[in-house]
Amino acid sequence: MTALPKIRLIWLGVTAALMALTLWMIFLWVPTEINQGNIQRSLYFHVPVAWIAMVAIVLVAVASVAYLKTRDEKWDRLAVAGAETGVIFAALMLITGMVWAKPVWGVWWTGEPKLTTTLILFFIYVAYLMFRAYFPPGEQRRRLAAIIGLMGAIDTPIIYYGAQLWERAHPSAVVGSDSSIDGPIGLTWMVATLTFSVLFVYVASERYRLRKQEDEVMALRRAISLQPSRTPSSSMDNAEPISSAPAGGA
């Protein structure tokens, strides 16, 4: 525990420095794209954020499989951290995508496959997190959440494939506007992607740490729960899944 804060501090510093560099590059350094103008700068956020939203579901899936195999709570914490970070990045991706699409394509929303996939992925993250919020804490919640996370991750490439077919069947009226990705523009992409990846690791690991502390508090409460004066009787009723057995004879 004592060695950890130092690493966290360094990581935070690196993230902040990279973010400052990225912002400088996006807003001051990189030349304005000729066809789209200044609005194109939002893509330097949009694309890396989209990438992270996808990476996060892979993290959720890997952690969920590891949890089901080992039943070690740390994997569950990692899966939650992935989903919570994922839902934020998916939301950012959708917002930056819409902000960009309106002036360039003239519409807020199109059936572009990556946008569609991220939107559905966003709903999957939300369902995963809502399930966790509804379900009382414990082994059963960790296990069922792992199943939901895994099903969502399996679904993601299928959704993407479906969205591609859909776009082919309904070619949109909007004109594609591919811009070049070499020179300063390409370099800015790369730096932005790196920065957001580093940010993702930082945010996810902070969430992981917080989860761990919550679990430790829970464990302490459990350790004292057989002392009747400490725990109100209602706490156990709330904590039990509805269909499971009563804790003792009626």
Binding site: L68, I120, F123, I124, V126, A127, M130, F131, Y134, F135, Q140, R143, L144, A146, I147, I148, L150, M151, G152, I154, D155, I158, I159, Y161, G162, A163, L165, W166, A169, P241, I242, S243, S244
Partner: protein
Amino acid sequence: MLASLGTVWTLARKDLLLELRSRDIVLAIVVFALLVITIFTFAIELTPSRSRDVGPGVLWAAVAFAGVLGLNRSFAMEAEGSTLDGLMLTPVSRELIFFGKVLGNFIFVIIAEIVIFPVFEALFNISVLQIETIVIALLASIGFSAVGTAFAAVSVRVRSREIMLPLLFLPTSVPLIMAAVESTSVVVNGGSWADFSDWLQLAIMFDVIFVIASAVLFQYVLEE
């Protein structure tokens, strides 16, 4: 192998017998789906071309939303009488219990569709009773039953399971709903098999992947 199929059928037959007595599930799916379809006939002024444009979407949205209601019942009923515990006490492998429930739910969805499709055809004036759409309906129903059964089992222990199941089921089923809507569109606009083979492929892919994934994960759902 044969004995396993027998066990799956015994499980599904039990659900069919219960449904025959209570009529909870099929009736809920049929009535809810027909309500959705009827409301759309008021919400959209239906010209022949507009019917063909929006009809397939309305049909499959209605089936998906109504199906989720019925699937919810099929596990809620097992939980209410604690018969889920009774099933868990048997030495039958959890995969077989899963396939038994999927088969039962699949038959319910198909029976509901047998009622829904002709009524839809009459209200929207487009022909969906064709061999192509029947194949699409079968493929869609397999996927709906597999994913729906798995998620119904996941959400059965949640207090607000009526809310939770659609939130899990609908986003996951998006590729299957897309495939069903798009291929039905092609069919009602006069296209042939070759014109929607991509969508059929997507539906088959979804079915195979999720039948396997749900069956494997189901054992983890049921342990307590």
